[in-house]
């Protein structure tokens, strides 16, 4: 039979905080890859009854979170008290997961935490005669050094939604001046400006009424302007999976209190066989989306205009 439930295995299963099954490994790999911006990144994974959250952090100025809600999993058994957290190398985790994703085959895998030695255990469960398995050693997570509590800047939100592809292109173009990028939102005329200053300067403007196909939504009741380090801004789009641009999705940017920038992307985790393109807007069931959020702290001398 397919479930060789020996006593030891049953006991191990009962002891696990989390056993989950997922049927689209590549989607999860894409979602997690979007927060990979350098070679060695330590990630913290938090497991709860709502799903799995992976958090990465850089120099106290940039934090990224990937939310894998429990709806993305075809089975989600959670038995822990509190919210267990563990540390894992992001690169290793993603490379390992991608080994399970065989193009052209449906792959269902089981993820289990913790193993007998606090490992994260992965194994493929869709074939009896071929099995891939992995044990990733986890670490005790470091406490995150800086609090990224995002609060709205005022009573009305300061935010805009832009096509992810256009945002990525704009940020890629700003590489040339380098160093820092000033983002300005102004209500009249409603527009967003990215201005890079360094070796020369470059200004990219999104006018709300001029290109509604690029700038999809815009909320701003007073002008605001903050500067962000280019390398952190770039990290927010540098590894955006191709399905985000293919599905023509939008990314939402919000400026919070103190100029903290929140960038939100939606990454499709639809099963490849079921990934039927419904319409040009790329509408898919919300349950098949992984949410990716970046928080970027402004440069210290950033001033409210």
């Amino acid at each position: 039979m397919s479930s060789p439930a020996t006593e030891a295995e049953a006991a191990a299963a009962a002891a696990a905080d989390l056993i989950c099954h997922l049927d689209n490994v590549q989607g999860i790999v894409d979602a997690l890859s979007s927060v990979r911006w350098k070679r060695h990144q330590d990630a913290v994974v938090e497991v709860s009854e709502h799903g799995v959250v992976l958090i990465v952090e850089d120099s106290g100025c940039l934090q990224a979170k990937v939310y894998l809600q429990r709806e993305l999993f075809i089975r989600y058994d959670y038995h822990a008290q509190g919210r267990p957290r563990f540390g894992v190398g992001l690169g290793l985790f993603v490379d390992c997961l991608s080994t399970f994703s065989v193009p052209g085959h449906s792959n269902t895998i089981e993820m289990r935490y913790p193993g007998p030695d606090m490992q994260l255990l992965l194994k493929s469960i869709d074939s009896l005669d071929a099995c891939i398995y992995a044990e990733i050693r986890t670490r005790i997570p470091e406490t995150i050094s800086w609090d990224y509590d995002f609060e709205p800047a005022g009573s009305s939100p300061l935010s805009f939604t832009v096509r992810s592809a256009a945002l990525k292109e704009a940020i890629d173009d700003l590489e040339w001046p380098g160093s820092s990028v000033q983002i300005t939102l102004q209500p009249a005329p409603p527009s967003v400006t990215f201005k890079g200053e360094g070796h020369g300067d470059l200004q990219i403007e999104f006018m709300y009424y001029a290109n509604t196909d690029l700038l999809i939504a815009f909320h701003c009741d007073h002008a605001v302007s903050h500067r962000y380090k280019y390398k952190f801004l770039r990290a927010t789009t540098s590894n955006l999976p191709s399905n985000v641009t293919k599905d023509n999705r939008g990314s939402k940017l919000t400026i919070g209190r103190g100029g903290m920038l929140k960038v939100q992307h939606l990454v499709s985790v639809a099963r490849s066989s079921a990934a039927h393109q419904h319409s040009a807007s790329g509408y898919q069931q919300p349950s098949r989306i992984a949410y990716v959020e970046f928080f970027v702290k402004p440069e210290v001398d950033g001033d409210d205009a």
Binding site: G89, L92, T99, V102, G104, A130, I132, Y133, E135, R137
Partner: protein, 322 residues
């Protein structure tokens, strides 16, 4: 020392589209070894630390009007750059096809290949070349592929004895059909580590594993068809993890395990480009090497095409040095 032959349509199809691209991925240079009955492309047979590969063809599979003579029992061997050879064949075939279309005939008797010595430009020393000559009614196109000096009698006999020694088969071979799946798995796995543990059991299990201090990643393929010695798996092993199962089989003497380089393993899978119908994996006596034998069927049948043989031998890493 003379070598002259016409490359047949079948020979062109085998070399141009299948074997040369595959062999080129293993290593750019190889030895071409020609005898009265066989032509073989050999990688790393004379130095022990690389991935060895042997692609051997019966003369009829590649050539027509084959003439070879040398003072060393009609054997000739030399080193050649596979990508140059591939380019020369590809463009000769292109020209041939054009000429054949004009003349309305087959291209088979028009692509001649021969060994020549020529004086290259800016040189006073004549150099050996493999020449491809494509003849039309009014014109001929000649392409020269530079080759190494033909190997000495001693080197050729060293090559021949290395070839002979590779003929011993492992006691148990397991058959893998889906090379695509294996290749995509190994390509992804190579990001995780450099050393691959391979274990092959008499129960038909192939177990691949990379283990580092941070991660253990493995794949187990079970109930594969077996060639050679086999044994029934004990029923109590059924519920075990892949790792435990392979450890128990090794300790019972029902399986052998070796360590090889992930890079070599991935390279050996490049032979897949030559479109074999399946592959057999086995561990040579006393764990000397991991042997991969690719099998080709006669098109349209399930019978082995005995005119083609392709196999790789992966050197085993000493566990102490890693």
């Amino acid at each position: 020392m003379k070598f002259k032959a016409f490359l047949t349509d079948n020979g062109v199809a085998l070399l141009e589209k299948r074997f040369l691209p595959a062999l080129d991925k293993i290593d750019r240079t190889c030895h071409l070894y020609l005898t009265r009955d066989h032509a073989a492309f050999l990688h790393n047979l004379l130095n022990g630390d690389g991935l060895q590969s042997v692609a051997q063809f019966r003369i009829e599979a590649l050539f027509d009007a084959y003439r070879i003579s040398s003072q060393n029992d009609d054997r000739i061997a030399f080193a050649v750059d596979l990508s140059l050879l591939h380019r020369a064949i590809r463009s000769s075939v292109g020209i041939c096809n054009e000429l054949a279309a004009d003349a309305g005939g087959s291209a088979s008797d028009r692509l001649q290949i021969k060994l020549v010595k020529k004086l290259p430009a800016n040189s006073t020393q004549p150099m050996p070349f493999l020449t491809f000559e494509t003849k039309g009614y009014k014109s001929a196109v000649i392409q020269d592929v530079p080759i190494s000096k033909p190997m000495s009698r001693a080197q050729v006999s060293e090559l021949q004895s290395a070839l002979d020694s590779a003929h011993a088969l492992p006691r148990t071979l397991v058959q893998v059909h889906d090379l695509n799946q294996l290749q995509s798995f190994v390509d992804r796995m190579r990001h995780v580590g450099d050393v691959l543990n391979v274990s092959i059991s008499k129960h038909g299990d192939l177990h691949l594993q990379i283990a580092t201090t941070l991660i253990t990643l493995g794949a187990e393929f079970r109930k594969l068809p077996i060639l050679g010695e086999r044994a029934d798996a004990p029923p109590e092993d059924r519920g075990l993890s892949a790792q435990a199962r392979s450890e128990r089989a090794v300790s019972r003497g029902d399986a052998e395990a070796v360590q090889v380089s992930v890079k070599h393993f991935a390279k050996s899978l490049q032979c897949h480009t030559a479109r074999p119908d399946c592959a057999f994996y086995g561990i040579a006596e006393q764990g000397a090497c991991l042997t991969v034998i690719f099998q080709f069927f006669i098109p349209g049948t399930r019978q082995t095409d005995k005119s083609i043989s392709l196999y790789c031998r992966l050197p085993v890493l000493d566990p102490g040095t890693n």
